[in-house]
């Protein structure tokens, strides 16, 4: 019996909790992609860099707070610095919209042109971020490392396996719940939020109803920048901040948005968890879990890992491919082809 419990704790500790935290980060990222898709109807390739940019300013503000001795005690100071990062990302992205995308809106350009423009924007952000903060790893996590340490858990339960619950994981989950609840309240209950849904649903009719497109687009960008900064900061807190990783995370984020049904916010969240949990569970080494569950002599020699972690992108890509082949509109009904 304790063996089974130990195996479960092991799974929770190394697979479920990290998977959920990662899923939250992907979900927040995918929400930003899906919002822009719903309103402006293109896949924003600069989204990863937007995340990195907001995170960068959060880090700079965190350093400033830290050097002035301001902190939140056990909670990372970065949360206090988050509004600065969000503000910076919002200003950047609104500036970008004014200088780049607005022109193509007036021209009524095809989505593919927006997409290429977003590649240019990505290029620019990429250089800008490396110019300001450099290409290296930045660790900005402070406060206490754990909510529950492995030792405390072992003492509490008397099991061999400890379940550590990292502060950054707890923060990720709580912040994501707050953000998602706030976003859905906004989209479903407020007049402005409903007008955004209406615009996404049927642009021409929204215009006939007197909905101001410029305002809708502006709010979509603000929401996207906010979500991107939060997602990027949570990801950076949990792992570490390295500009390059934000380019790589673009693929799982796109996969999450499409798998869920692009343009559909609930789908983006669902897709985030589908991608994150499959990625973690396919690259997880099950050796010790199996060792607990089978008689000693059966214990496997290898790691019992389906795929090496180097191939985690292959997981999101494979799921993406399967969804595109089987159900191109995504799990939840997204905007159709």
């Amino acid at each position: 019996m304790t063996d089974i419990l130990n195996a479960i704790v092991l799974l929770l500790n190394f697979l479920v909790i990290p998977g959920i935290a990662y899923g939250c980060q992907l979900a927040l990222g995918a929400l930003g992609v899906t919002l822009i898709y719903g309103i402006l109807r293109f896949s924003n390739f600069a989204h990863g860099e937007t995340m990195a940019f907001g995170t960068m300013f959060t880090i700079i503000a965190t350093w400033f707070l830290q050097s002035n001795g301001i902190s939140l005690g056990p909670i990372p100071t970065a949360l206090l610095a988050l509004p600065i990062g969000i503000l910076a990302a919002v200003l950047l992205i609104l500036g970008t919209d004014k200088l780049v995308y607005k022109f193509y809106r007036k021209q009524k350009s095809t989505p593919v042109i927006y997409l290429i423009a977003s590649l240019g924007v990505m290029f620019f952000y990429n250089g800008l971020i490396r110019f300001i903060i450099g290409p290296d790893d930045r660790i900005f996590t402070d406060g206490s490392r754990f909510i529950i340490t492995a030792r405390e858990f072992k003492e509490m339960t008397g099991l061999d396996q400890g379940m550590a619950f990292k502060m950054t994981q707890g923060i990720t989950i709580v912040v994501t719940i707050i953000c998602v609840a706030a976003l859905f309240w906004f989209l479903n209950k407020t007049r402005t939020g409903k007008s955004m849904r209406a615009y996404s649903d049927n642009e021409d009719l929204a215009l006939l109803s007197g909905i101001n497109p410029d305002r809708v687009v502006m709010i979509a960008w603000i929401l996207t920048a906010t979500l991107a900064t939060i997602a990027g900061t949570l990801y950076g807190l949990d792992k570490s901040f390295k500009p390059f990783t934000y380019l790589q995370i673009l693929l799982p984020i796109f996969a999450a948005a499409i798998v869920g049904g692009i343009g559909n916010p609930i789908g983006a969240i669902l897709g985030g968890f589908v991608i994150a949990l499959s990625e973690v569970s396919v690259t997880f080494a099950y050796k010790r879990v199996i060792a607990y569950l089978v008689p000693e002599s059966w214990a496997p020699e290898g790691l019992v890992q389906l795929l090496s972690t180097d191939y985690k992108f292959a997981v999101s890509f494979t799921i993406l491919v399967i969804v595109l082949l089987v159900k191109p509109t995504g799990l939840m009904k997204g905007q159709s082809i």
Binding site: L115, G127, Q248, L251, G302, A314
Partner: protein, 435 residues
């Protein structure tokens, strides 16, 4: 291209730039940039076939470049007999099993339907995954442990590297077929995202499958094409020693110039062949139809054109050209380094070339490859120099100054982004517009 004064003078200016670099800097640098530009121009042509002819967005150019590179490597290096003896049969058998599994899945897909089909395909996939791994893993271990410091891989075919160029094109075409089959016919963004995905995966495979590519340990000393001599031979040849004396340069310098020039000649031939074929294709009924489809997909579909099929064709062709260019690049480097493949350098830079040059126009794509390639290489010294001038007023040990100088390299990315955006907005037709 219309051979008007404007277009010809743009190429002429480009030529003058190379001469200026040769005269004021060094001819070695000039030829180095020229080789880089020639390869870039081929890549740019390939992307132009996809984007310019058909409006297809390939955001995974890097992956196709890398496939070309690995093809050149695997064709040219000698086989490692010991490793083949140790694990060759295991790899072959796994490949055989994979083929069976794919055939079974295909069969199930064709013959069954509904829930049974999904279930069967899932079952076949899972079972075959474990069975293949059962034979594959030990073989890989055996290969990788054989002389892991020296080789640790199966080696290659020991054939002339030029065959690798062809194989590179074929490999890239195969990958393009796979991606295109899945994502063409869906929304245009999906192709972009799928290509982004496949290129990340290709790079991951090349980095991690040591038994095939030695992974991050790199493969050095690739043989050169038959037409490119080795420096050592030149330095010992009486003819070239005599030449060097007559021109008043050291024979070492001359040998490097001759090698670079030989490469340039070879690349130029490939570029001209592909350019010629592209121009022919574009002017043919096939090319006209492609453009008709691009300009109005709905109308073309209504006229009974198989739009998705045509798109697949053009996507494969373009990717093959990019694959050939990738093989050329690895040949020029003489070594294969999977870590060198960066998306910004191999995907987005090529995009800037196509857009700047003039999408839809082959000559434009070539010119774009030259112009952007030239400035990409020159931007580093220029940026450093500019930063030096800007910061010259600051104290020698100022933190800001050292930060700015260190960051100058990243200015290139920003500049490329700005150039792309400016061209896209103000002269969307590029330097040489489509006819």
């Amino acid at each position: 291209m219309t051979f008007n004064l404007r277009n010809i003078s743009m190429f002429a200016i480009m030529a003058v730039m190379f001469i200026l670099v040769g005269v004021f800097n060094s001819w070695s640098t000039s030829l180095f940039i020229l080789n880089f530009c020639l390869i870039s121009a081929v890549m740019s042509l390939g992307v132009n076939i996809q984007w310019g002819y058909a409006g297809l967005l390939n955001v995974g150019i890097m992956g196709f470049v890398a496939l070309g590179g690995v093809a050149a490597t695997l064709v040219s290096i000698p086989p490692v007999q010991g490793a083949i003896a140790a694990g060759g049969s295991g790899i072959l058998f796994s490949a055989f099993l994979t083929a069976i599994a794919i055939a079974a899945i295909y069969f199930a897909y064709k013959k069954l339907s509904g829930g049974t089909r999904k279930l069967t395909i899932t079952a076949i996939s899972i079972v075959s995954f474990f069975v293949i791994r059962y034979y594959f893993d030990p073989a890989v271990d055996a290969i990788e442990s054989f002389d892991s410091a020296g080789t640790g891989n199966l080696g290659g075919l020991n054939m002339p590297i030029l065959f690798g160029w062809l194989l590179g094109g074929l490999l890239a075409a195969g990958a393009a077929w796979l991606v295109g089959k899945i994502s063409l016919g869906l929304r245009s963004d999906y192709l972009a995202i799928a290509t982004l995905g496949i290129s990340e995966i290709i790079i991951a495979v090349l980095k991690n499958e040591d038994w095939l590519t030695r992974g991050v340990k790199n493969v050095n000393g690739l043989p050169r094409p038959f037409s490119v001599p080795y420096e050592v031979d030149i330095q010992q040849s009486a003819y070239w020693i005599d030449m060097a004396e007559r021109w008043g340069v050291s024979v070492v310098e001359l040998s490097s110039l001759v090698v670079k020039f030989s490469y340039a000649a070879l690349f130029a031939i490939v570029l001209l062949i592909i350019l010629y074929l592209s121009e022919k294709a574009l002017a043919s009924p096939w090319g006209r139809m492609m453009r008709a489809i691009r300009d109005n997909e709905t109308a073309a579909e209504a006229m009974g054109k198989n739009v998705t099929g045509r798109h697949l064709q053009v996507f494969i062709l373009g990717s093959a050209v990019v694959g050939i260019a990738g093989a050329m690049l690895t040949t020029l480097d003489g070594l294969f380094t999977p870590t060198a493949y960066q998306p910004l350098r191999y995907t987005f830079l090529i995009w800037v070339m196509v857009i700047v040059g003039g999408s839809g126009n082959n000559w434009g794509a070539v010119l774009g490859g030259f112009v952007v390639g030239f400035f990409w290489i020159q931007a580093e010294p220029i940026g450093l120099w500019a930063m030096d001038v800007i910061t010259s007023g600051m104290a020698e040990d100022s933190d800001l100054r050292s930060h700015l100088l260190k960051s100058a390299a990243h200015m290139r990315l920003m500049m490329m982004g700005v150039i792309l955006l400016l061209v896209l907005r103000f002269t969307p037709k590029g330097l040489i517009p489509e006819k």
